[in-house]
Amino acid sequence: MDLTTEKWDLEIKPQDKWYHQDFASVWRYRELLFILVRRDFVAQYKQTILGPLWLIIQPVVTTLIYSVIFGYVARIGTDEIPRLLFYLSGLTLWAYFTDCISKNSSTFLANSSIFGKVYFPRLIVPLSILVSNMIKLVIQMLLFLSVWLYYLITTNTVFPHYLYILFFPVLVLMMAGLGFSIGILISSLTTKYRDLTFLVGFGIQLLMYVTPIVYPMSALPERFRLIVFLNPVSSIIEAFKFMFLGTGTWNWWALGYSFLFLVVLTFFSLILFKRVEKTFMDTI
């Protein structure tokens, strides 16, 4: 038998080629992905009285507090948008983004007991986090849409760009992509150097202040705007406000920059994740 032509289903090697990604096996394990989503969702609300109602309570309370602190106390403008709607619009996508980062950034550490015992494509876990957070996003979007409809009908303060709302799914995908790649980048690095775990919560908090969440872009002096737009999330939040509230900016250049940022980051974090998934059990 000619050994070189023998067909093997699987080859276990120290490292694959750096660009090699096994998306086929991720697809094979798609059922596991949805079972993990179900697990996250079911397990989270077991033994709670309010259950998924917490998904509504959280943004409502945060919005109220922001309205008081940033609106009444600090008197930051909202581009004439009712305060509740303004803060809620900023927080909805932002919450999705930060949830994805913070959950994904502990992929390896939190799952080491499973990863240490059985193989499945490790990417399934961060992908399942994207999906289960997506369910939360849908519920929180329903909250946002009802508040939005209320103000749209009863007041004359909101002027949506309806055609642009068609782009909303693209914005969500970009947010998902950024949350995913930043998250797995951090989780890959923390397997060896734990320093980054300290940075996650703290960094997300800081990042919020260079994102137009609690202030409108128009409230910023011209020279700061470029800095804020260097944050790839800013243009997405701005675009979201542009389509639903009519304020904010729709900047193709900024959106293009965010997209490019997303592609490059995803590329690198996938490569790093791939390398780490083979070795992390030895270093974690």
């Binding site: 093997w8 120290p14 079972i35 993990l36 697990r39 015992k117 060896k192 059990m281």
Partner: protein, 430 residues
């Protein structure tokens, strides 16, 4: 000839001793710099064999080195060795939980590994939800789980509790459910670690039975265990690992025999080394062991039902008034199969300081197989305690013919380890 479905080539696994983190950034950069210039990883050439007792300058060890073997379809391979020999590491590499440092493994077919039962069980989820979760983690499809669902509940025997969160389960129910899921895996290659050692004897027997079924169906199984009885029962081939390298690769009995010798150095020339006692308080010491047939020749192989003479030398270092000496034989399955005690007409003997030559003629009627000698001397004063105990110090092999070569007992060892005569009565009643 059946086809090769796993080929392991030059597998090695290197570990760093001490803390990961401190100083590793510098060596990472150094390694990256070598790789970037197309040079070899500077840390691969160093590193010691994994002998935990040896001191050495390097803080890198090879948990596995130069591992080569092939597994054919339908083979049941046992991997045995002392703690730290690399058994679990090779299983983890085969299960793709950790990557090898060097080498490659090629596989045909679907692998399922069982390094632990109940991986990923979530305490808040119900039994039903956990069956799906655990099954999916182990690589079963939803359809497979669904079609096996009733069988799984049945095997676990937890029908009533299936919609209760598993955190409310007793630990026995938990383990039974976990194993039930694993038992219904249907891979081409099954990798099993010592997980089966959890649970009570009944459960273990059930697990072994299930694994035996798998092997009967022609499935390829790789099995790691410290239980030689289980390995012998299940496997047809064994690999003995020693300090991360393959010491023996062959039929299961060879592997087990070698393992038990590895555990205790055998007295080949009859002289028992100083430091092999399993227990000693220094007051007495067995020095020499020899087995002779009745003609006076030293032998290692005996026929079934052939008497032999055991010669032992015992050095006594203080006077002992009230001693008992016993010599035992043990097979792989049981620690002891047979014991003969020197009790001097129901009275214990008194030993004076000096060297004794003990000779005893035995015919323990052991069934064919391989047996190791255990020698012990005890002081029975007060509560009684052991003065010296050496285990499996020498082996004899019993072969299945009688001395006059009439093949009256082609006996199978699985009938036990010993045969005794009884007073039989057989009457035809109808």
């Amino acid at each position: 000839m059946s086809k090769t479905i796993i080929r392991v080539e030059n597998i090695g696994k290197q570990y760093r001793l001490g803390n990961v983190g401190t100083g590793s950034l510098m060596s990472d950069i150094n390694r990256w710099w070598h790789m970037a210039r197309g040079k070899e990883d500077p840390y691969l050439s160093v590193g010691d064999e994994n002998d935990r007792l040896a001191k050495s300058g390097s803080n890198l060890v090879w948990a596995l080195k130069d591992i080569n073997f092939e597994i054919k379809e339908g083979e049941v391979l046992g991997i045995i060795g002392n703690n730290g020999a690399g058994k679990s590491t090779i299983l983890k590499i085969l299960s793709r939980v950790v990557g090898p440092t060097v080498g490659s493994i090629k596989v045909k077919g679907r692998i399922a590994s069982l390094l632990e039962v109940g991986t990923g069980f979530h305490p808040d989820l119900t039994g039903r939800e956990n069956i799906y979760l655990n099954g999916a983690i182990l690589g079963m499809s939803k359809r497979e789980i669904k079609s096996n669902f009733d069988a799984i509940i049945d095997f676990a025997g937890i029908d009533r509790y299936i919609d209760t969160p598993v955190k409310r389960y007793s630990s026995g129910m938990y383990v039974r459910l976990a194993f039930a899921v694993a038992a219904h895996l249907d891979p081409d290659i099954l990798i099993v670690d010592e997980v089966l050692s959890v649970g009570d004897a009944d459960f273990q027997a059930k697990c072994l039975g299930k694994m035996k079924d798998a092997t009967v169906q022609g499935r390829t199984v790789i099995f790691v265990s410290h239980s030689m009885a289980a390995v012998k029962q299940l496997c047809n081939r064994a690999i003995l690992l020693k300090n991360g390298t393959i010491a023996v690769d062959g039929p299961v009995l060879d592997g087990i025999g070698a393992y038990l010798n590895v555990a205790k150095p055998i007295a080949d020339n009859g002289i028992i080394p100083e430091n092999v006692s399993s227990y000693t308080n220094g007051d007495a010491k067995f020095k020499y062991i020899d087995v002779k047939n009745l003609k006076g020749d030293s032998v290692n192989i005996l026929h079934y039902n052939q008497p032999f003479i055991l010669n032992v030398e015992l050095e006594v270092k203080r006077d002992i008034d009230n001693a008992i000496i016993d010599f035992s034989l043990g097979s792989y399955e049981s620690r002891y199969s047979y014991t003969s005690t020197f009790d001097n007409d129901k009275k214990n003997i008194s030993l004076k300081k000096g060297v004794y030559k003990i000779s005893v003629q035995l015919n323990p009627n052991l069934l064919p197989g391989e047996y190791g000698f255990y020698l012990a001397v005890h002081d029975m004063d007060g509560t009684g305690h052991t003065l010296d105990l050496v285990e499996r110090i020498k082996f004899i092999k019993i072969i299945p013919t009688t001395e006059d070569n009439s093949p009256r007992y082609p006996l199978n060892i699985s009938l036990g380890t010993m045969r005794t005569d009884g007073e039989w009565k057989i009457n035809k009643t109808l």
